[in-house]
């Protein structure tokens, strides 16, 4: 049972780490602030989520596990608020997102 849990935990930790790397690569490859924020949100949803879940399976006591769960809930509530604040601040300061030009029908603003 503990070997199974260990294995699952390792899979989650490795997958979470892989998503963090992918998010970081995305931050470098994307052309502007808004598209970079999409890449960053890969890190703080599945990246952080899988790492926390992997750690949760390794938790030595229920208290440590519950604290990790609380961290996860906290991330889920705070990260969209921070992302939204960043995007809104960028728009308020006049930064225009680069939009796709190929067939624009919905780019109204």
């Amino acid at each position: 049972m503990s070997a199974l849990l260990d294995g699952l935990s390792w899979v989650c930790l490795l997958a979470g780490g892989a998503f963090c790397v992918v998010g970081a690569v995305g931050m470098l490859r994307m052309p502007d602030l808004f598209t970079r924020m999409h890449a960053a949100s890969v890190v703080d949803t599945l990246g952080a989520g899988l790492i926390l879940f992997g750690l949760l399976l390794q938790a030595p006591s229920w208290q440590v596990g519950a604290k990790l769960a609380v961290i996860m809930v906290l991330l889920v509530f705070t990260s969209p608020a921070a992302t939204h604040a960043l995007a809104k601040a960028a728009v308020a300061r006049g930064l225009k997102p680069q939009l796709d030009k190929t067939g624009d029908e919905s780019s109204s603003s």
Binding site: M30, H38, V42, T45, Q63, V76, P80
Partner: protein, 158 residues
């Protein structure tokens, strides 16, 4: 009053979790602090439907798993776009109408949009949300209104 009691209980639970000691003195100190903080919050009128939406707890356990599934799906899509050598993005802005009736419902919808990779809510008003989407497909998926309907159901009036 119900909201004050429930936030006192939540605060006490959080206190217990962080302390981890179960001696009578520390338990009563924690209870005292939790009640005091809830009373201050009530006096400052920050504990209400909007500030502590405990009435949504039950339906959250229907909505959150669905949201988690959506997050996993769209994270996978965005990851594939990032590792694709051609970087096939088609960023665009789209206005999404909201059908929620309460501020906390609209906030839940906007946060759900931001939380799913590939879409970010930029500007939120009562009637619509301005969304930046990484791909045209992402914008179309949002415009189909599935998430909007589910958040409204989560809100509990329909």
């Amino acid at each position: 009053m119900l909201y004050a009691i429930s936030s006192a209980l939540t605060l006490f639970g959080f206190w217990l979790l962080l302390s981890g000691y179960f001696t009578p003195f520390l338990l009563s100190a924690g209870a005292g602090c939790a009640i005091a903080v809830a009373a201050f919050g009530r006096r400052m009128a920050v504990i209400d439907r909007e500030g502590h939406p405990v009435h949504l707890t039950g339906r959250a356990f229907i909505f959150w798993p669905w949201l988690a599934k959506e997050i996993v799906k769209s994270t996978w899509d965005v990851s594939r776009i990032i590792v694709n050598p051609r970087l096939p993005i088609s960023p665009n802005l789209v206005r999404v109408r909201t059908s929620q009736k309460t501020p906390e419902g609209v906030v839940t919808f906007a946060n759900s949009i931001t939380l799913t990779p590939g879409t970010i809510s930029i500007d939120v008003s009562e009637k619509e949300i301005l969304v930046h989407a990484l791909t045209r497909e992402g914008a179309e998926g949002l415009a189909s209104g599935d998430m909007d309907r589910r958040v409204t159901r989560f809100e509990g009036f329909s």
